[in-house]
């Protein structure tokens, strides 16, 4: 990896935003055996996608940021303050985390789940606000159904509703669309898009579908074997030599002639 590679600029040479303006600043974070010297930033208003092969460490980064597994080295700053300086409620007011597999065995309704999410909320959770969130995740009609009886995509949206109820500025989503129907995948990415629209809020999300990254993310961070290989705009990262090295495929981006959406084609490289 050449130092002159425009996609992996040393942190010091990049124009530095003042700490308080960054939603998340991960600096030189290491977890023994999993992550090595990982650094990334999330700016307000951005959707940042973590991409990389299975086992690369994407979930671990997210969970370190969610303060579930604190790193053994390095620091994480949330809105300018060290993550570990936040009390549990204060942290939940700034940041919401959706873990990868949440199984609910309890007969909560969608409404119940959303209401539970408001636990640490700074402002009162009004019924209007509850309805607004239910509408945003498209579950108004199913609001009183037992979440266990919902389909995978509906249940995922209910859990997102729970996280939205926290009224946090930053969302960490761990593979929110894996294993879901295409339509649900678009729904959830659209929810992310509306979440950050214009309002100084951000999302850090792990995604396997590289085309979704191209279509929805503002920044992509490529992780491989616990290290950051490339950071930058999705167009650049997905067509980079790093991506080819990691996935064994060369990426090409183009406009879909039928829908005018951005598309990604991956050309398999042998050897």
């Amino acid at each position: 990896m050449a130092v002159s590679d425009p996609l992996v600029q040393p942190m010091s040479s990049r124009p530095r935003m003042a700490d308080v303006e960054l939603a998340l600043r991960v600096s030189n974070v290491s977890v023994p055996g999993i992550l090595r010297d990982v650094s990334l930033t999330v700016e307000p208003g951005q959707i940042v996608a973590l991409i990389g092969p299975n086992g690369a460490g994407k979930s671990t980064i997210l969970r370190a940021c969610a303060h579930i597994h604190p790193p053994s080295a390095g620091t994480i700053h949330l809105y300018g303050r060290p993550l570990r300086s936040y009390g549990a409620r204060a942290r939940a007011r700034q940041m919401g985390f959706l873990p990868q597999q949440t199984s609910i065995d309890v007969p909560y309704s969608v409404r119940d789940l959303v209401e539970l999410g408001a636990y640490a909320r700074a402002t009162h959770f009004t019924p209007d606000e509850q309805e607004r969130i239910l509408a945003e995740v498209g579950l108004t009609r199913l609001a009183d159904r037992d979440v266990r009886t919902l389909s995978g995509g509906e249940r995922q949206r209910a859990l997102i509703g729970k996280v939205l109820a926290q009224d946090a500025r930053l969302l960490l989503l761990d593979e929110p669309v894996s294993g879901l129907d295409v339509a649900y995948q678009w729904d959830i990415m659209q929810i992310c898009k509306s979440f950050v629209a214009g309002r100084e809020r951000s999302v850090l999300v792990t995604l396997h579908d590289l085309e979704l990254v191209l279509q929805y993310a503002d920044q992509a961070v490529l992780i491989h074997a616990g290290e950051v290989c490339a950071t930058g705009h999705p167009h650049d990262v997905l067509t980079s030599a790093e991506l080819t090295r990691v996935f064994g495929a060369r990426g090409h981006t183009f406009r879909d002639p039928h829908t005018d959406a951005w598309r990604l084609s991956l050309e398999r490289i042998r050897g």
């Binding site: 969610a66 303060h67 579930i68 009390g87 549990a88 409620r89 942290r91 939940a92 007011r93 919401g96 985390f97 959706l98 873990p99 949440t102 199984s103 609910i104 065995d105 309890v106 007969p107 909560y108 119940d112 789940l113 539970l116 999410g117 636990y119 640490a120 009886t149 859990l159 729970k162 996280v163 926290q166």
Partner: protein, 324 residues
């Protein structure tokens, strides 16, 4: 449900070797200090005993609700944290060594001390670097409980006949001979436990969705877990200290209550307390009245009824799962 409890309590007090009418009972309860035979029976014997049953029933039921929520497992019984076995050890020791002659307080206090010690041990075994693993608690609970049971059996082998009978009876669980001292002994810790637990209703609701889910919503999971386990230990330990090991109440009551009122603890906790109390009084009343001259231990009644009932619940759930 409160009405049910009241009704059951009155019936419970009315039933006994000397049959009383409900009117007599209510009159005696409302006018303490009366000197008719009925009044004395009610106030000196029946009332405290039934009150004990009420408090113990509520304690076991709410502890069961706590444990089932924390472990996300509707099959959990408060005993899994080791408190019942611990309490048994203390009581058995006191009985075997005839410490009870020194003071009527000694047995319950002994039992409570060992109960708390057992939970402490289980907790210590299951906690690494400040994080308490639930599987660790389950395993440690099992290990400690079986070791303590072995200890109890050991004590039994060395006990003489009189002590043996007393110990075995105590182990089966019961309220006979529980007077006003016992009521105060349980009422205070259980009362504290119930109130504090009520304040943690929302945390319990969130813990039921999973530890990570609760953590991400802002719950201080480790602290709250510790607190809840301590409260369950406090309440169950007190109950065991006063009335022996009574099975199934902590397991079944929350289960049934959740079917009736839903999963939110703001309802589950008070309903469990009321229903547990009613069940306990009913079981005790049954235990006293099934055989005319004798008293069967409450623990036997709850096991006899509890076992099949629990099996029925299990089968219903399985059938629902396979149909749904």
């Amino acid at each position: 449900m409160a009405v049910l409890l009241l009704a059951v309590v009155v019936v419970g007090i009315a039933v006994g070797p000397v049959p009383l009418t409900p009117q007599q009972v209510v009159r005696a309860m409302l006018h303490p200090g009366g000197s008719s035979v009925a009044d004395v029976i009610v106030s000196a014997i029946r009332e405290p005993r039934v009150l004990c049953a009420v408090i113990v029933g509520a304690a076991l039921a709410v502890s069961g609700a706590i444990v089932q929520a924390i472990f996300k497992n509707p099959m959990a019984d408060p005993g899994i944290i080791g408190v019942s076995a611990g309490g048994a050890l203390g009581a058995v020791l006191a009985l075997a060594l005839s410490w009870a002659v020194w003071s009527p307080f000694l047995l319950p206090i002994c039992a409570f001390v060992t109960a708390t010690a057992a939970v402490f041990l289980v907790y210590a075994l299951a906690t690494r670097q400040g994080k308490t693993s639930l599987i660790g608690v389950l395993l440690a609970g099992m290990v400690i409980s079986s070791m303590i049971s072995a200890g109890v059996s050991l004590i039994l082998t060395f006990a003489n006949n009189d002590e043996l009978r007393g110990i075995v009876f105590w182990l089966m669980g019961g309220f006979s001979g529980d007077g006003w001292t016992e009521v105060w002994l349980v009422a205070i810790p259980v009362g504290i436990g119930l109130v504090l637990t009520a304040f943690l209703s929302r945390e319990l609701d969130l813990l039921q969705t999973g530890e990570e889910s609760a953590h991400s919503s802002g719950v201080r999971v480790e602290t709250i877990k510790r607190l809840l386990i301590a409260l369950a230990a406090l309440m169950t330990g007190s109950a065991v200290a006063v009335s022996g090991v009574i099975a199934f109440v902590g397991l079944i009551v929350p289960h049934v209550v959740r079917r009736l009122v839903g999963p939110r603890h703001s309802l589950v906790l008070p309903a469990s307390a009321l229903f547990g109390a009613s069940l306990m009084v009913a079981a005790d009343t049954l235990a006293r009245s099934l055989i005319p001259t004798m008293e069967i231990n409450v623990g036997i009644v709850t096991s006899f009824l509890g076992g099949p009932f629990f099996l029925y619940l299990l089968l219903r759930t399985e059938r629902m799962k396979s149909n749904g």
